[in-house]
């Protein structure tokens, strides 16, 4: 009985590996936050190709629309984690990106060392490179879900695309020239100015409570320690010829203008003076709407992603061709 069970399991496993190769799932729907994070880690570590641009951040940055960001970007932001997790992963992976975009919204959060270790020091990583069935994204349930959505796609194509986009995965390429990006930004800003009254949903209230529970007013010493840690990473990457760029994603005023956020913003500018480091400007919060006080909704994510690409264009040699867009920086 034991031999037959192992034999049959082996046949199933080989067959499943083969099925994945044939099926080549175009997207995956993570079952939970932890799995979504792990999939990102595996995609970054197991893929031998190095993306020259990497975004590191918290759940706030996971809302960046990967359909809008250029193809050479990898979003190494994790829900429920900090920027330090992404930075440590890049460092220990040995990959050398050219630009690292650091989100500054949640700098008070500490690294989850166990999470990073589980990604980097996984004994199975070598095996996983050869056996796709062992990849987190190819879990049997994920593959079955993919098959179900692929079938649904025949009935109602837009529904699947909408859902996948909402999860933050790439379903289409919206690669535009810098000029087109500028135009897109201008149109979306005009739209946003018209229709975003600030509201707080039930979810929003709960989330704001959560954020305040998690943060409170940090001790000055703690903030300086966080900045010192960030400095270690920034120095490491700049010594390895990478350019570091800081950006902050707009949030509701109650979060964005809270004393603890102002404290961290001030400490950041002190540790990394604007004269020596690149910062993307923080757009005025009035243009954006969040689902919970912290995370941008779909439309605002799209707007911010375009603004982000616009700023990316700004730091490359094509910057002269930009059409200036008037942005108000939040006080």
């Amino acid at each position: 009985m034991i031999k037959r069970a192992f034999g049959l399991a082996l046949v199933l496993f080989i067959g499943y590996n083969f099925a994945i190769q044939v099926l080549e799932p175009k997207f995956y729907i993570p079952q939970n936050q932890q799995q979504e994070n792990l999939i990102k880690v595996q995609e970054y570590l197991l893929n031998p190709a190095v993306k020259p641009n990497v975004v590191v951040g918290s759940s706030v940055s996971t809302r960046l629309d990967m359909n809008i960001l250029p193809n050479d970007f990898f979003n190494l932001s994790f829900r429920g984690k900090s920027v330090f997790d992404g930075l440590e992963l890049i460092k220990r992976s040995g990959k050398k990106p050219e630009h690292i975009y650091i989100e500054t919204n949640m700098l008070h959060k500490e690294i989850d060392a166990a999470f990073v270790d589980s990604g980097i020091e996984n004994n199975m990583n070598v095996v996983k490179q050869y056996l796709p069935a062992l990849h987190e994204k190819h879990q049997l349930i994920n593959t079955l879900t993919y098959v179900a959505f692929a079938a649904l796609d025949y009935v109602k194509p837009s529904l699947t695309a909408q859902l996948v986009k909402k999860i933050g995965q790439k379903v289409e390429d919206k690669q535009l020239s810098p000029n087109q990006v500028q135009e897109q930004v201008a149109v979306l800003l005009a739209e946003a100015a018209k229709k975003y009254p600030s509201t707080e949903s039930v979810t929003g209230k709960a989330n704001i409570k959560l954020v305040s529970l998690q943060t409170g007013m940090p001790e000055n010493l703690y903030v300086s320690q966080q900045m010192a840690e960030l400095k270690t990473y920034v120095d490491y990457f700049t010594n390895h010829q990478a350019q570091v760029i800081f950006f902050e994603i707009p949030q509701e005023a109650s979060t964005s203008l809270s004393p603890e956020r102002l404290q961290i913003r001030e400490a950041l500018k002190k540790a990394f003076p604007e004269s020596s480091y690149t910062y993307f400007p923080l757009p005025a919060g009035d243009y954006f709407k969040t689902t919970d006080g912290t995370h941008l909704d779909e439309k605002s994510s799209e707007l911010y992603s375009w603004l982000f690409v616009n700023e990316v264009n700004n730091i490359d040699p094509l910057q002269d061709r930009r059409i200036p867009v008037k942005l108000t920086v939040a006080e």
Partner: protein
Amino acid sequence: MLWACDVGLLLITGLQIYVNMLFNSLNFVFLVFVTMLLYYATALKRYQVVILILASFCFYATSQPILLLLLLVSIVINAVTSYFIQWGAQNKRRLIAAAGVIANLGILAFFKYSPLFASTVFSGSNDNLSNFLLTIPLPVGISFYTFQGISLVLDTYKEDKRESIVPKGFMEHFRNTIFFISFFPQLVAGPIVKAYDFIPQIAVKTLKDINWEYCFRCLVVGYFLKMVVADNLKDQTFWIAYPYFERYASITLIVMLLGYSMQIFADFAGYSLIALGVAGLFGYRLMDNFNFPYISRSFSEFWRRWHISLSSFLKEYLYVPLGGNRKGAFRTYLNLMIVMFLGGLWHGAAWSYAVWGTFHGVALALERFLGSKIKLPDTGLIRFVQMVLVFSFVTLAWLLFKLPDFSYAVLYFKALFTNWHIAPGSLGYAIMGYTILYSLPVVLYHLHYLYAQKLTVAFVIRKTEVALYAVMLFMLAVNSGTANEFIYFQF
């Protein structure tokens, strides 16, 4: 002997680098594999027990090396007291037994309940004593190995069982005691093995003694329950934490709570099955710890099916000595509540666990009272309703395990009724969908037990058994959740 010690030391130093050795880690598989190689090596046959002891110390030391000393202290206390109960002055047996039990309970109280004592008595104070008490570390598995120590002392004290468990030679007894208390498959989370069940099994084992099929079934089902069911459910029930749950619809909260009920079963029953399977690989048979508890039609039946080793321990060493049901109805109810209150506190040093235990104590007492007054007809519908009622109560009570802060548990309970105005949303639907999906194996596991006696079901199970185990193995490879500690490790 020395050679075996060297190998053991090598194992200890080699494996200490790992912070945690979960049953579902490659490190653990490696430990079991290497230990088995040494254990069944013909040349080392005489040192089998020593090899298992060293492997057990190695297993324990990987999580908290310093607290290995405490384990050794506990072992010494129990070995010495049980030896003198058996072979010392007969007029002092009672005194020595009492001293042994008090020493065990003292260690447990100091390491497990000091923080609770400090936070209750010195609430808000910041003096040295309260700070010291609050920072005492909780040694992994202390509740389990302390109870095993008590079992050794009391079993020796009992006239009818002592002959078989304490040999005349102290060194042999000491070796047996170290092995009995530290045997790694059951060291950190049970099953709580009783001395008279385990010590008589100590003998030289050969590969022929292994019941491979039994071990295979225990290990596959155990790992499946833990890694595929419990570890996947934990990422859905994560949102029961405060204040996350406040944003979810009532229906989502209900499904998550049901999911947690399934998760805690899959986690603990899975762990126990793995322990049984691994012990079986070394030729030892541990007691079954779970017997399909969610089909129970009464609370007393539930406790005969859930964490059997603990409930039988509490019954044998606490409920019966307190008088059990021999001293009238009122004393029976009181004894039930005392036992369940203490059983609750055994789980964790927080008042919510005591409340959880008391809930069960009240339910047991009430059930006993009503059972003596009302006789219900034994129909299918009545049986089903009883099963649903017991399961619902048990599930609701698990909330205190997930939210040990009582105020949060109350808030969650309120939200179950007040969050109907919130729409589940896509995240809520996803949580519900995955929770139901991963709970299904537990439901089917229980249904299989309920209907296994029916001829057609038994026939189908027999015919598809190989395929079922193959699918479980396959799922272990391709659909395990992210590794996490066993819930009962914290106790």
